[in-house]
Symmetry: C2
Subunit: 144 residues, 2 copies
Amino acid sequence: MNQDTNTAIYTISVAADILGISIHTLRMYEREGLILSYRKKSNQRLYSQKDLERIVCIQKTINEDKINIEGIRRVLALLPCWAIIKCSKKDRENCEFYSSHTKPCWMINHTNNICKDRNCRDCDVYQSFGSCDSIKNKLKDLLT
Amino acid sequence: MNQDTNTAIYTISVAADILGISIHTLRMYEREGLILSYRKKSNQRLYSQKDLERIVCIQKTINEDKINIEGIRRVLALLPCWAIIKCSKKDRENCEFYSSHTKPCWMINHTNNICKDRNCRDCDVYQSFGSCDSIKNKLKDLLT
DNA sequence: GAAAGTTGACATTATCCAATGTTAACTTTT
DNA sequence: AAAAGTTAACATTGGATAATGTCAACTTTC
């Protein structure tokens, strides 16, 4: 029985070691809205295998594709979450993200709509970027 | 009777003067796929008022929003042209862009589909970025 | 025919920024 | 109690890159 790739097991220093980067970088990516880490009750970060893959993907985008962090954030901000999780007209009206375009939805505090009780880390929207293929594929799915 | 803002009247040096940038920059933006200039039969570039607005928009995105050129190109590459101009299944199959995600559609040579005879400069897809508001609005229109 | 346009290549410059280091004050884990 | 985690602020560094400049060979406009 394999360990679930979704289970957060690595502490920040272990994750940094595996990835060959510094813990600063991991915290920066999170501060910049590119990743969300799992937090224990004590607020300690933990990373899953899937998290690591996402981070590798981000590194590739920065170092090989040469898109800067602000650019990546804007691309992520284009994910049409409302269509992905199928939120209602009312939900959209109560969503700060729906009329914004500089930050991904998971960087916004949702207090008054369908996302209130959802965990962004587990959400399809956040995970659209996880496998390193373009979010364009997501758009293709959604647009006939 | 006002001059049509779509009419290309400024040569590159005049446009550069008006914008306060060098002609090199204008050519670079074009080489990078951010803009398309009108060309006379002799291949000389001409710019319209609308072109200038688009360029101001690009400058803002680079200098104020701090997205680098590769980032802008990727954002533009996310425009779902197939949904905007409503091309057929066959058109999509014959479209190099549909399965690419690094370049805007207008950077790709269309030889075998609906875009073959279209002028990208006049196309809704290219002009989605013209007014400096996000292409997210375009996605909102398209995704209910 | 002079001025301004074209492409392409190569160089430079000034700025920016991703990544890391360091320190401080504190909390949690082991 | 030591090791490792947390946030926050500030500094540094190395490399990238947006923007210009220049030169060459040529064409078009005026």
